[in-house]
Symmetry: C2
Subunit: 276 residues, 2 copies
Amino acid sequence: METFFSFLEKRVADCSSLLCVGLDPHVTDLPRPTAEAALEFCLDLVRQTAAYAAAFKPNAAFFEQFGAEGWKALKQVIDAVQEQSQRLGSRIPVILDAKRGDIASTAEAYARSAFAGLGAHAITLSPYLGKDSIAPFLADPEKGVFLLCKTSNPGAADLQDLPVNATGEPLYVAVARLAQSWNSGNNIGLVVGATQPEAMARIREVAPELWFLAPGVGAQGGDLETALMSGLRRDGKGLLFPVSRGISQQDDPAGAAARLRDRIIDIQYQMTKSGH
Amino acid sequence: METFFSFLEKRVADCSSLLCVGLDPHVTDLPRPTAEAALEFCLDLVRQTAAYAAAFKPNAAFFEQFGAEGWKALKQVIDAVQEQSQRLGSRIPVILDAKRGDIASTAEAYARSAFAGLGAHAITLSPYLGKDSIAPFLADPEKGVFLLCKTSNPGAADLQDLPVNATGEPLYVAVARLAQSWNSGNNIGLVVGATQPEAMARIREVAPELWFLAPGVGAQGGDLETALMSGLRRDGKGLLFPVSRGISQQDDPAGAAARLRDRIIDIQYQMTKSGH
């Protein structure tokens, strides 16, 4: 049976890429602050980078800011990824970056919205409300979840670094343990900022099998090589690097995506050669 | 200067109510599963209960499930509350129950969406990403935030009850302390389930000034009297009880809201008499 992560791994193999292209139509990056401009921006980016994208990640906030029109644009962007999948003969997963998290009956409505409504294949969620708030998103193993674990922003330390339990391990390690124990359907991953390689290595220890969505490479200063050394699974997979402005704001987004894809391959090759 | 909570307190005084009417158009409660039916359901509820509502709380999930049309309905529902405010001559705050939480530049887009776009006055947020993820929502003191602290669902225990720091206090107490320390603009409150009065009393100790949004009365089995004894501030305010199906699914929603409002007043009167 296909699960979300077997689907993702098929795509990773097809395009030899661990790159996740972020679709974040910031108002300041658009020629006009309208839903139409956001749509055009994203459709162009999808067209240019699809061949190098292991996944696409639209962030709901940048569509919601345009109200109902923005929501319509979000659905059209996700549809456009499906069109590229058909053109390339290889299905590309769409991860809706929404960071939702609510009690069960409400979570069901969010799951319906993301999966049935918008057609996304996975979603980012907050772990703060616990397992029953995640369960409705896991019910279909072909749909996946990335749980916030250790994020790349400065405020992450406020809660995520608090020492918990008798061991005094940071909260984010406890979250990683929980996620690993909940992953009976092979459809839970974690959000682990690439900006903190030591934390990433620690999370990899307690969650050896999980995929990490690792933002922070490029714009936020995270180093690709260190992140790969800290977070890659033994099978050379398990890390997905979302990059948005690092691609969309380049003169040649397609070239920027291709170069990033190739740089990751190159580092992986060097790592294999040196016995990592 | 008006802050979100001085605005709320004015409304509480005007209607002698601590009731927050939840606007949750569950598909199963609608005659048809459409955005139009959701809109009609909410407009009727707003009209019937406005006189008794200290605030209204639409939950974003139940609108998002209808896509762009649902988003349009959500805006119309919030507009309808403003119309009732004018009719009654007393402004009624709208708390958007969205439980968002993202890094700063994304949080800015969510804040724009909730406040400038939809016209809400406050929003529920997850604390998991820390202070910088909350800051964009606090920038305007007239707009407010309710941070998830101790929720009313069974899975709440997974993270929120973990013992943290040297003291081993539960995570939710640490969150309450942080919120109290971040509340320089009088616009942070907490979400504290009415189903766990002991936790509520503990949170009241460390956050003596904050407003609590306390779901769980009615449908989820929380007891109104115990909650009032555990969570009320010394000034007899500080607790807001969101109720949705306990009102919307009654034969006479207006009557149900009025009775709930009056029951709260009655318990408060008894408490004052007995010296609480």
